[in-house]
Structures are given as structure tokens and as C-alpha cells.
């Protein structure tokens, strides 16, 4: 099994198999779980996007929420104004956000760490307010995103949430398969090289600026997709759907996943999905006061973030791997 995953065809089969498992799972759990499954898929894509940018190409983005917003709005506009089929709306989201990302990335490639962090932060705060400026973006209330009812061929009992889950899960599977292919190709290698040693990468013939811009573009494409998925699960797009805290949560998810490792992405996504539930369980014990219910998720996520950075800065997955390497090295001696 392990070996099979390491060939491209093998991985394609693995992903199809995974999709089948998910399909079976989707039929066996209640509506809430199905809805959470869709959210989970959305987070998987969004966190992968952050990991790609921060972990693989070494650029910090504090403003991924803004990219999600671009994706969400473009999908909704494509649906509402041109009535495109739903899969095409997602494609539009990916392409538009990737295009925006390539422009941003060109600027970002010139900036060093703190300046890039500042620029992306400003973008995350600034961009959603644009919606208030132009009436076709729906202002503060935003726009309704209706992906339509599930096809009748799926049967009458097939609920909309299950339909969302199907869409989100297949989108996530395709996106991750696609991303893994890229990361295993010379492009992924190039990004890791640039992050490892810029000058050495340049001497090896890599145009560092182009490589970084490409990473930003691909990451944006994924962010756009997850933005569209987010819009689908909540049914609307509005400035308040993409707050600064979304950007920060995604970063938290990425850190929990171990910024550099894609396999850990589930850890981050599951945590982000489960956090509100854990928080509500705890606040229930504390007597269900409003302020606690509202703020507990924030406290938990932030505390987790700090603990991870302090204790396992490269994420649990990477930490295990390092331990294994050390063990092997000792065995060699």
C-alpha cells in the first residue's frame, strides 16, 4: 500500500478509493456530521493552500481570508450573473483568485518576511470592505449562493447537505491529488529549494522571483476554491464571512498540521472543525453564559497555537519524522 501511494497512478487509485470511502461514510452519519464533513473538506483545501505558501515557498500570508473572499465572490457572481453550471463556478473561482494571486505574488516576491506579513494583513482587513463600495457585491448583507438541488437521479432522500458534502469532498480530493502531483514534481522541489537557500537556488538556475510568484498563484487558486466551498456551505458571501479571524484560524490550522507537511493537514482541519464543538461542550459545563460561548473557541485555538509553536514548532507529524530520523541515525552508529 505504502509503495503504491508513491507512484502517480497508485495515488490516483488511492484518491478514488478514498472518495468511495467518503461516499459510504456520508450515507451513514447524521446531517450535522455531513455538514461538518463539507466544512472539513473546505478547511483541508484552505489549509493546504497556506501550507503550500508558508511551508513550501517560505512566504508568510496573514491574509488568506482575503483570497478566500475573492474566490467566494467570483463563484457567486459567476452563478448569479451568468448562471454557469456549478462546477464551472468553482473553476471560475480558482482561475480568478489565481490571477489575483499572481499579481499579488509579483509584488510579494520583492518583499521580505515582516513586510509581506504586513501587506497580506492589510489586504485581509481591507478587501472585504470593498464589497460595501459596489452595489453588485451586495454590501454588508452580501449575496446568496445557491448551488441548486442535488440531481434527481440521486433519489428524493438525498439532502442538500449531503450534496454539499459530495461537492466539497470531491473538490478537495481533486485539489489535493493535483497539489500532491505538483509538489512531487520539479515545481515542488524548486519551492523547497528556494525556501532552503535562495542564493544556492539562484546559482542552480532558478529564477527565485518567478518561483515565488508561481507558488503564490497556485496557493491563491486553492484558496479561491476553498472560498467558493465556504460560500456554498454557508449559502452566502458577505464581508463578515471572511473576517481577520478566518485568516488567523487558517494559519493556526497550518501550524497544527506542521507547516511543511501535507499529510498532517487533516489534523489542522479536524481541529478547526471540532473546535466550536469542544468549546460548546466546555462552555455548557461552565453554565452556558453568552460571553463564554462566544469567546471560548478563540481561547482554545489561540492557546493551542501557542502551545504547538512552543512545544512542537514543526507540527506533530514533522516532529515524529525527526524523531525517527534521529533513531535511525543512532542505529547506524
Amino acid at each position: 500500500m505504502h509503495k503504491l501511494i508513491h507512484t502517480n497512478v497508485g495515488r490516483l487509485f488511492f484518491f478514488v478509493f478514498l472518495g468511495f470511502i467518503l461516499f459510504l461514510a456520508g450515507n451513514r452519519v447524521d446531517e450535522l456530521r455531513v455538514y461538518q464533513g463539507a466544512t472539513l473538506a473546505m478547511f483541508v483545501v484552505a489549509i493546504s493552500s497556506v501550507i503550500l505558501l508558508t511551508g513550501y515557498s517560505g512566504q508568510v500570508s496573514l491574509g488568506h481570508g482575503a483570497l478566500l473572499a475573492i474566490g467566494g465572490y467570483s463563484a457567486v457572481l459567476a452563478r448569479n450573473y451568468w448562471s454557469l453550471p456549478i462546477w464551472l463556478c468553482f473553476a471560475v473561482a480558482v482561475l480568478v483568485t489565481a490571477a489575483a494571486g499572481s499579481v499579488l505574488g509579483t509584488a510579494a516576491a520583492r518583499l521580505s518576511g515582516p513586510y509581506l506579513a504586513g501587506t497580506t494583513l492589510a489586504l485581509a482587513v481591507g478587501l472585504p470592505s470593498v464589497a460595501n463600495q459596489f452595489s453588485f457585491l451586495g454590501g454588508e448583507q452580501g449575496l446568496i449562493f445557491d448551488v441548486g438541488m442535488p440531481p434527481e437521479s440521486l433519489g428524493a432522500e438525498f439532502s442538500p447537505y449531503k450534496w454539499y458534502f459530495w461537492i466539497a469532498a470531491s473538490a478537495a480530493l481533486i485539489a489535493i491529488w493535483w497539489l500532491q502531483n505538483i509538489l512531487r514534481s520539479r515545481y515542488g522541489r524548486t519551492w523547497r529549494a528556494v525556501r532552503g537557500h535562495e542564493v544556492a537556488a539562484e546559482l542552480a538556475g532558478i529564477h527565485v522571483g518567478k518561483a515565488k510568484t508561481l507558488a503564490f498563484t497556485v496557493s491563491s487558486g486553492l484558496a479561491g476554491l476553498s472560498g467558493a466551498l465556504l460560500a456554498m456551505t454557508i449559502g452566502t458571501v458577505s464581508p463578515s464571512a471572511f473576517p481577520l479571524t478566518l485568516s488567523f484560524s487558517l494559519l493556526t490550522g497550518a501550524v497544527l498540521s506542521g507547516v511543511t507537511t501535507l499529510p498532517g493537514v487533516m489534523i489542522g482541519a479536524v481541529t478547526l472543525v471540532a473546535m466550536p464543538e469542544i468549546a460548546s461542550a466546555i462552555s455548557h459545563r461552565l453554565g452556558d453564559s453568552d460571553v463564554v460561548t462566544q469567546n471560548l473557541p478563540g481561547v482554545l485555538v489561540s492557546a493551542l497555537l501557542i502551545l504547538v509553536v512552543l512545544l512542537v514548532p514543526n507540527g506533530p507529524v514533522e516532529q515524529l519524522r525527526t524523531l525517527r530520523i534521529r533513531k535511525n541515525a543512532k542505529a547506524h552508529l
Partner: protein, 301 residues
């Protein structure tokens, strides 16, 4: 004409507060090479402390001083407990990002923590003097006694800071540790302690920014209030525009941002504020990727 004068006045007062916040960020950046996103959270915490103090001592001024002292303490605590551990352990692939992430986490904890403990209460900080503008020949200008207080408080603090930095031994140690920590250590400066001090001063400056900004707005104090989002984002943009390295740069960045935003606010539309700040930031960085007063990167190999 009146509108234009008001624009300048609004720009300078809000710019002064952003400058104060930017100074706090620059102090931390210079002493530990960390962008402290928790700065706005610390300012929030200090302002809450100030609010409690107002209740107890019945004086805004005593509360301001106490908030600054306690803000400094909180900031020093964060440096000692979190930053030192972080730098000791931090070697992995995310070495460059980890401090930023840690301060974001702190920001989250402070905000939500305050939300839990204080969120239910109604908290209003009233300005100690009137915030209603002076009226001259029928026009009420955007300059009130409290705005004068803000500007003069910021000016006083800047003068005090620059005196500390240029005239005292501590200031010399602070500058030396920022520019060349190794040489400073060889000269006998306890660089670790000086770093903590840098954080403490930043904490005090941030506390002052919070205590001045809150009554200048609606006066309502809450973890999610607009005032603190403004401080977080605009203080930060001001610092980056200024180049992160220099206190003068922070002041220039703050005032520039304040003026530009005031123009947008008065002549165009308030919803564009954040977008304008972003565009201004991009424009400055496109011309000078290292900020207005920042230094160009050295040799690479």
C-alpha cells in the same frame, strides 16, 4: 476651506495615535526582530486595566499612568516567558514564522480572554476633557480639548522617548543592542535584559495608544471594538511604511497614514479606509521595499 482644515486636524490626531502604536512595534522589532501582533491585544488589556483604575481612583490621568506601567509589565512578562523560550527552541523550517504565529496566538488569547471575563459588562471610557470641537465663527472645528490632549500627550511621549534614547545610558544600551547585539554584549551590555526593557517601553506606548484612542472614538471598550482593529492594522501599516527600523520612520508613517486616511474619510467615503491603507502600503513598498526609513539589505552571499 473649513473641510480642508478639519481634514488636516483629524489626520494629525489619528496619525499621532497610529504613530504611538507604530513606535511600540518598532521598539519590539528592533530589540528582538519580532513583529508583535499581540501589541494591539496588550493595548486592549492595558486599556481595560486603565478602565478599572478610573473606577477606583476616579481620575483618568492616574489611570493612564497606571495603565502604562502595567502595560509595560505585561509586555516584559510576554518577552521573558514566551519569546525567550521560543528563540531557544526554534530551529525548524518555520523558524522565521514562529514568532509571528506566537504573537498572533497571544493576540487571540488576550482578546477572547478579555471577552470571557469582561465581555458582559458595559465599559465606557469618557474623555477627561470635552471632545466637542471648538467653534470659531459658526464652524465647529475637528479640534477639541481632548484632541489637543492626545496630540500633546503623543508629542510629550515622543520627546521623552527621544531624550531617553539619545541622552541616557539606558538609551545608549537600547540603541547599541538593536544595531549590533554582539558588540553590545562584548561591551558589557546585558542584552537580554535590555530586550525585555525594549518590550516594556513598547508595552507602555501601546497602553497609552489604547487609553487615548478609546475615548477619542465612541468611548466604548470591547475586545472587538473598531478602535482596536484600527490600532492593530493601522499601527502596523504605519510601522511598515516607516521601515520598521526607525522611530522617526514610525512617526512619519503614522502621520502620513493618518493624513491620507483623513482625506479619504472627508472627501470620499469611510468604507474605503482599510482599502486605502492597503493601497498606500503597496505604493510605498513598491517604491521602497524596505520602507521609508528602512535600510537596504546588505550583500547576500
Amino acid at each position: 476651506m473649513f473641510t480642508f482644515i478639519d481634514t488636516i486636524l483629524i489626520g494629525l490626531t489619528s496619525g499621532a495615535v497610529y504613530s504611538l502604536m507604530a513606535i511600540a512595534l518598532v521598539l519590539v522589532w528592533r530589540s528582538t526582530r519580532v513583529i508583535n501582533f499581540a501589541q494591539a491585544g496588550q493595548a486592549l488589556l492595558s486599556t481595560y486595566i486603565g478602565f478599572e483604575c478610573i473606577g477606583r481612583f476616579n481620575s483618568y490621568w492616574v489611570a493612564l499612568i497606571l495603565a502604562m506601567i502595567l502595560g509595560a509589565g505585561v509586555s516584559a512578562f510576554i518577552e521573558i516567558v514566551f519569546m525567550r523560550t521560543l528563540f531557544k527552541r526554534n530551529t525548524g523550517p518555520i523558524a522565521g514564522v514562529a514568532p509571528i504565529i506566537a504573537t498572533l496566538g497571544l493576540l487571540g488569547i488576550i482578546r477572547s480572554g478579555i471577552g470571557i471575563f469582561m465581555g458582559g459588562k458595559e465599559t465606557i471610557i469618557r474623555p477627561p476633557v470635552s471632545n466637542i470641537g471648538y467653534t470659531i465663527s459658526g464652524h465647529t472645528f475637528a479640534l477639541s480639548p481632548f484632541k489637543l490632549v492626545i496630540v500633546s500627550a503623543v508629542v510629550v511621549m515622543m520627546v521623552v522617548l527621544s531624550l531617553i534614547f539619545t541622552k541616557t545610558n539606558i538609551g545608549l544600551a537600547l540603541r547599541a543592542s538593536a544595531f549590533a547585539p554582539e558588540i553590545a554584549r562584548l561591551a558589557g551590555v546585558k542584552v537580554d535584559a535590555i530586550r525585555t526593557l525594549g518590550w516594556a517601553i513598547a508595552g507602555a506606548a501601546g497602553a497609552a495608544a489604547g487609553m487615548l484612542q478609546t475615548p477619542n472614538g465612541t468611548g466604548a471598550l470591547s475586545p472587538d471594538s473598531l478602535e482596536f482593529s484600527l490600532l492593530l492594522v493601522f499601527g502596523f501599516i504605519a510601522a511598515v511604511i516607516g521601515g520598521l527600523e526607525s522611530l522617526i520612520g514610525a512617526v512619519i508613517g503614522g502621520l502620513l497614514l493618518g493624513l491620507v486616511l483623513a482625506i479619504v474619510l472627508m472627501y470620499i467615503n469611510a468604507t474605503l479606509l482599510f482599502m486605502t491603507a492597503f493601497i498606500l502600503l503597496i505604493l510605498v513598498l513598491l517604491v521602497r521595499p524596505q520602507g521609508i526609513m528602512g535600510k537596504k539589505g546588505g550583500r547576500r552571499a
